[in-house]
Amino acid sequence: MKRLDISYFLRQGVGSIFSHGFMSFAAVTVMMACLIITGSFSLVAFNIDHMIAKVESQSEITVYIDEALPTGDAQALKDTIASAANVSKAVFVSKEQALSEFRKELGEDSSLVDGLQDDNPLRNSYRIFIKDVKFYGETVEALKKIPQVASVVSRKDITDRLIKVRSVVNAVSFVLIVMLGTVSLFIISNTVKLATFTRREEIAIMKMVGATNNFIRAPFVVEGFLLGLTSSVTAFFAQWGIYYYLGKTISAGFGLFALVPFSGVSQTAFLFFLASGTFVGTAGSLLAIRKFLNV
């Protein structure tokens, strides 16, 4: 081969894909499904990470005041709370303040809370900063003992629970990546094997007239690569759509758990899809044509 004629391999590869169109379609569909399932779990894990970071950035302990208590009385509790053991600072957050913060967080969906000014479901609260994390548990206990305090939510409770969920999601993602990766590899490999079977006469003649092994293999590698590429690009856009739709549904349901916007992860997601799709496609075809190493 004097000059690498890529257009020849491309034409051969594309021709091969369409010569057994149904099988190629099935391979792309299965691979897309695998990518979307894996992608979804990774996005869930990513959102949990994001939530953990968000919770950690907020105050350490939140003390909710009994809703029976008028705002003025709640505000007057400041000294009692600030003098509890190990408390360095207590910041009062009125329920009106909490509502406007919530509204800000919702962003474009803020109309969801429009009717709530007059009948605010949120409670007055204090954000507590502590002196020494060592006595974290004692501080939470001490705050709970104050009679007007309805509940104490510590950051640790939430992050502990999120971290547990995340480790489950991570484990499931890992298992899925391995399993679905294998499934994809298998189906791509079989599609390409079918292609080599349809073209076995041509391959025999190519060998007879002195085509190199790489020359014979190249169109099949191109085929696997293209199948992977098609799967990853379509899977990416499908994932985008699913995420966008889910994000809307979730933020309408529970505003606090609004998903990270897709634009924030789209680049990483695209690279992940592209890399894994083309890798599995190429590896699958190489697996299928191993035997052509032997003349």
């Binding site: 003649i205 085509a211 092994n213 020359f215």
Partner: protein
């Protein structure tokens, strides 16, 4: 150029196909390799194309030593050879033109060279007017001529034809042999495997007779003789 020196071939199942074969074919020769079925003729041709390797002895083809040829070198050995089979081995989906062009594409020939060379080859075998036909629209003799054009298109120095007339009637068989003779006269070495005695005896060529994996006769301008074949 072919050199076989004391070549033995034992297949994996224990069949001794060749038992000490020594044969030399120089450039420009025309050789008939004859012998009854099972005498080892195809084993010789497969060794020349490096499909199989000798168990013992030495095989050299166009300066490649088949005994220890690297698999990456085999394609380059095959580019110096043109192989023709009894069953033609054409691709039915491709036109006559495409079948011949395919052999050039397989070795990376540029399109502009292919465009010139393929019609020239089809003209040489007398089938230029059927270039757009498919192989199954042609008669057997014509299909074999396409296969010969394909074998020649990459300009090999040696043509190996293993029973090229096995599927053809006597008149077509004679045409094919005359075509191979003409190709030889243009400078290509030709080795024809056959067991058709009458056909061989119409030409006055070198005849190498095999039986039981051994050469039992090798004569210039020789006959394919009854007694030797029935040994």
């Amino acid at each position: 150029m072919v050199r076989l020196i004391d070549v033995h071939k034992t297949y994996d199942n224990g069949t001794k196909a060749l038992k000490g074969l020594t044969l030399r074919i120089d450039d420009g020769e025309f050789v008939f390799l004859v012998g009854p079925s099972g005498s080892g003729k195809s084993t010789v041709t497969k060794m020349l194309t490096a499909e199989i390797r000798p168990t013992e002895g030495r095989v050299v083809v166009n300066n490649y030593t088949v005994n220890n040829i690297k698999s990456s070198e085999i394609p380059y050995l095959r580019r110096t050879l043109g192989v023709v089979f009894q069953d033609f081995r054409l691709i039915d989906k491709k036109s006559v033109y495409e079948n011949v062009a395919f052999a050039m594409r397989a070795v990376g020939a540029p399109q502009r060279v292919i465009k010139k060379r393929v019609p020239y080859m089809l003209d040489l075998v007398g089938l230029l007017h059927k270039a757009r036909r498919c192989p199954n629209e042609l008669a057997g003799g014509e299909q074999q001529r396409v296969a010969i054009a394909r074998a020649l298109v990459n300009n090999p120095s040696l043509i190996i034809a293993d029973e090229p007339t096995g599927n053809l009637d006597p008149a077509r068989s004679l045409e094919i042999m005359m075509l191979l003779e003409r190709i030889n006269s243009l400078g290509t070495t030709v080795l024809v495997v056959t067991h058709e005695r009458e056909l061989v005896n119409r030409f006055s060529k070198r005849v190498v007779a095999l039986d039981g994996g051994m050469i039992i006769s090798d004569r210039m301008g020789g006959y394919y003789q009854n007694e030797t074949a029935r040994h």
